[in-house]
Subunit: 681 residues, 2 copies
């Protein structure tokens, strides 16, 4: 890519960002948008400002940016929970790493690269039309002693990142423990989930059939209810339809009640159960010991928070969950390996000559230099972006059928999937050109990987800069507007004038955002000594991200679940992977640059990094899996002196109930008793 | 290797085996050898036969062979524990696999190979001087449909081995549980070991110094005691020496007592402790929960049996054990990678022309055809054997410094090390010729591994046949004689006439024997369809092994420790590895033989094998890690009704005591009180 094309892309995106930024600064102050842009403040009653018109409301003021940077960790903790705090620490961690990288990269390595003369054909008079390569390590003369500057930089950054990682892991661990210590008694602390409970074979099938019928029945009335109030009501025949549905609904509800009473009264068995204990330590003891002689039966796991339970797979057997896990792994690998095929086909359509043949009337427009630059330079990456937007929901769906019991586990698993998908399909697929299978085969020859990467990675610097500004700057800024909720809200207002609070307090889409942040961290670390030009763009991205996410936490998102920092190990692992990738590329590039001594001296770095990682796994990872006896007993002792404990235990009995077995109240006939027929076990 | 040279090796080894077999059948009946050949029977008082001379004692009778095959699993269990049963099952498992392999390999594949005509230059008139390759798959015509016979054989054996593995894993698991259920209350069932107990820094160093001094002092008197009774006594100055040592011993013991009282009375802290519980379930609950907030502190593990404890590393800190583990891993890798260098150098000395230059007087002898065949064909593998004999003790030493708390863990870890050492240094080093580093680099290009193996493995068939007869037949038969104990016993008898029972009841050297059995299993599986000629030799080996080990369990070995079948997962893993290796070679060889369809159709096999393995890990492995709550509670309930329980708990308090802190009684001054100064914690 030429500097001019890159500058076009940067320019477009910068312009878009400024435009969006300004628009948001003004739009967020309109009361009509409060329910989309600040639902949390609205629900707290803080933003019920007068609806009278004032001029300053139209002016884009940056006060929200200041507030985003000023909010302290304690504020964030009290408003959005520990997960939000940990997420913001991921961004500040990246900011610190990138800041050091910028200092070394831009002020030391960039001048070294630029003053090299390996690439003779650089046209200094017309820099914009020359290749970006003169800013990369490719421009340093082979075997030059200047390469030792890069060598030292690699060592320095590795040590700094490891030091920070250790510090952060320790900090997040201690936060996690103190968060637990300061928490009120909660049902999931006292409860374990036991799955694959062996049942006598005859009853199993009946229960399953009943359960499926129940789920089926449960869905029907919901679907039929939502329609009359929104669209059907518009066409005049409202009363007839409502009557019809009410009648049907009553019949259905009667059936549901019969099935519910069948399930609970007849004592039919389900293959899973939540088991609550009198103390946290008791629950933990039962959790960690293998229960049955057959380890695939009576499998115990920590119960999620009651509202975090993902009910559909609750009673699945071990074998079913195991098989669906295998299928999901295969599906993910296939999706990852074959994703690029449709993308490349669609991108091929933006080929200029192809477009001119298909849409001849565009010929005159396409001949304009700027338009052609946009079509060839900007459109392909836009198409890639659109395809990539589909990935988080797909991965979330795949994770949901994998057998996880909680929504938070599903999100965590999806986050991991999206991360590795991005690394493979954006990083490696772009770096290692060629077909999918030739790419896979490269990793079957690990010896050649460093050399291949060393050749290919620096050459892709400009692509990744364009990617950072498109996917990082623009997409992240666009997230401010919450486009889909905004459109939904507008449609609702047009059709019904109804401004209900249905959109209030959505959960933060970790599986959509976290992989992007981590991927840009990986870009920063691996490109740090190869092409430092990318670093300032990343720095801008992380500043943007800090502002925006600190703001969509204060105003928009409420924690639907709380993993208490369980996302951190993903961050740690991906950073360790980035370091190892950097080392592999360093080995390759020093060999390529005919400095074999430096290449050999890099070897201790991956070994030390792996040992460091092994130590962290022993030292910190267990804290993120379960709480220690020390902590649990401390909390249990506190309860003894607490007067509210007895009341809590009374509530605990009914804390976990499948919504499919709860009483329903949709029809207007409210005479019948609607108490739950479920008896607590 | 030519058929004639192979026949020479087989002939020599067969002759040696028959000779040793006959000799043992006669020698074992001499009362003078009872303490070496049947120490267990001697100690049980069963073999206290009259020492009067009878003729039949000189005749080699095979009755012990019959007894070895007739002994049932229950007999073995009661005499030698579950580990012996599991070990014999490993051999019967191998026997079953090899029997099927012989049926398919010798009666179907061997004729197919032999009637192929890929190798035109076979001299049918003089088979003994031709290459063995005509019996291997190399002789089947490229692209021939006969190769589908081999393809079907690979599928058949894989399914059979997986089926057997599942069945055996299930059987051993159930045996393990029933063994535990039928066991008497034992101290280690109620006890956990807690290590890395945090102590205040000041005291730590003092304790360590005291502990080291204690160990040092403890060793000195033992060493000085053992000498006077054996060698020093011979030189007349016995009385003087004994007096001198007695005096020194008394002083030392006084010091030791002082240190012991320091340690126990002053309440000095040690960084580890055995903690016993009132119930097995209580111990298990404490074992499985992480104790401290810092997972590297208060690390709990299952306590070994009291006599199985390896005390020297008892108080080591987490960091020290972790670092020594890293060092041991590096040492093992270095040893494995560099082992062949001295071996090849020494083997080079057996080069004929080299020998003639060095030892010119041997020239005439070396020119005899048979002698030269022995020197070139037999001597190198003998030298390799001698070097290999050093490996189990070295690996045992390395495992002992790794931080394991029990001797059984050390043996298990050493067994694993020796197994992988053998696979690397015998299998791969012979198959993939070239320098050590070129071999390692082959595995950095996994894509090429199948092709390389497919070329190299069949060519080594005759080497491995020679290896089976030397290392399998002869070495295993030689183990009957227990040469080192025999020589020691003879020396002792010559010098002192003392026939004490010091040799009684040694532990079975699993780390020396098990890797060999597993390696031959691997040979059988991977060579099965390549060169079926090897199979009958393996069948003979496993029959020999069954006889000999069933006999050295009945008469010689007593269980010093009982892992209750924990060796089985090693067996399972090595068999899975063998299957995967066979699949890799099959992919390579079908490609090489220009039958790409068969090559592609093999691909599902490794995938299915890996999924099968993953299932077994979930289904069975946890049973070998810890007992389930179901089992533990069942046992605990039995105790409640048992009258001896109270007495057992009284003994439990003093079950675990470091021998270094026990009262000593070596000197003749027996007036002082010698009670233990250790107070149970």
């Amino acid at each position: 890519m030429l500097v001019s094309a890159l500058l076009t892309s940067v320019g477009i995106n910068f312009g878009l960002c400024v435009l969006f930024w300004t628009l948001y600064s003004s739009l967020r102050k309109q009361p009509a948008n409060y329910d989309v842009y600040a639902p949390r403040l609205l629900s707290d009653g803080q933003s019920q400002g007068s609806s009278t018109f004032r001029l300053e409301r139209l002016l884009p003021t940056p006060d929200w940016v200041r507030r985003a940077w000023q909010s302290s960790e304690e504020e964030l903790l009290s408003s959005s929970g520990l997960d939000a705090v940990v997420f913001m620490r991921i961004i500040t961690f990246s900011l610190r790493v990138i800041t050091l990288a910028v200092v070394i990269g831009v002020f030391i390595l960039l001048p070294v690269n630029f003053s090299g003369d390996q690439l003779h054909d650089v046209n200094f008079a017309n820099l914009t039309s020359s290749s970006l390569d003169i800013f990369t390590i490719s421009n340093v003369k082979d075997g030059s002693n200047r390469l030792w500057a890069h060598f030292c930089a690699v060592y320095l950054l590795t040590i700094f990142v490891c030091f920070l990682l250790y510090h952060e892991y320790k900090y997040v661990s201690s936060r996690r423990i103190s968060y637990f210590l300061s928490s009120k008694p909660q049902p999931h602390q006292f409860t374990i989930l036991v799955r694959s409970v062996p049942v006598s074979a005859g009853i199993t099938n009946d229960t399953k059939k009943l359960y499926k019928r129940l789920i089926h029945l449960q869905r029907e009335p919901t679907a039929s209810k939502s329609q009359p109030s929104s669209f059907f009501g518009l066409f005049g025949a409202k009363d007839d339809l409502v009557d019809h549905y009410e009648k049907k609904l009553e019949d259905l509800e009667e059936n549901v009640r019969l099935v519910q009473s069948d399930v609970s009264m007849a004592g039919e068995e389900v293959r899973a159960a939540f088991v609550s204990f009198k103390s946290r330590y008791g629950a933990a003891a039962a959790l960690h010991i293998q229960q049955a002689d057959n380890p695939t039966q009576m499998v115990a796991e920590q119960a999620p928070e009651p509202h975090d339970v993902y009910w559909p797979l609750f009673p699945e057997s071990f074998m079913r969950r195991w098989i669906s896990q295998l299928i999901v792994i295969v599906a993910c690998i296939l999706l990852t390996a074959l994703f690029l095929i449709p993308v490349v086909v669609v991108q091929g359509l933006t080929n200029l000559s192809q477009l001119e043949i298909w849409l001849p009337f565009l010929k005159s427009i396409l001949n304009v230099a700027f338009v052609s630059q946009v079509v060839t330079g900007y459109l392909p990456s836009l198409i890639l972006q659109l395809f990539l937007m589909m990935i988080p929901p797909i991965m979330k769906f795949l994770s949901s059928v994998q057998g996880h019991i909680s929504i938070s586990e599903i999100i965590k698993s999806a986050c991991n999937k999206v991360l590795w998908f991005t690394i493979w399909n954006i990083y490696f697929a772009n770096v290692l050109s060629g077909s999918v299978f030739s790419q896979i085969f490269i990793f079957l020859e690990p010896k050649n990987v460093p050399a291949r990467l060393a050749v290919a990675v620096p050459a892709q610097a400009s692509f990744f800069i364009a990617y950072v500004v498109t996917s990082g700057w623009t997409s992240t800024t666009l997230e401010l507007f919450r486009l889909i909720p905004l459109i939904c809200s507008l449609i609702r207002k047009c059709f019904s004038g109804n401004t209900n609070n249905e959109l209030k307090d959505p959960a933060f889409p970790y599986h959509g955002v976290l992989p992007r942040v981590l991927f840009f961290g990986l870009l920063g670390i691996t490109y740090f000594f190869l092409a430092p030009l990318i670093l300032p763009f990343l720095l801008v991205y992380f500043c943007l991200a800090y502002t925006i996410y600190s703001n969509q936490f204060i105003n928009v998102y409420a924690p639907l679940y709380e993993t208490a920092g369980k996302f951190w190990p993903i961050v740690h692992n991906s950073m360790i992977f980035s370091l190892l990738l950097m080392h592999a590329i360093a080995v390759g590039i020093f060999t390529l640059k005919k400095l074999p001594l430096a290449s050999s001296l890099v070897f201790p770095l991956p070994v030390i990094t792996l040992i460091f990682n092994a130590y962290c796994r022993k030292r910190f990872l267990p804290i993120f899996v379960a709480y220690s006896a020390e902590t649990l007993i401390k909390k249990d002792r506190e309860d003894i002196n607490d007067a509210t404990t007895a009341e809590f235990f009374n509530k605990l009995v009914a804390a976990y109930q499948d919504p499919a077995l709860l009483p329903m109240q949709y029809s207007s006939d409210s005479n019948r008793e609607r108490t739950s027929l479920l008896s607590p076990v």
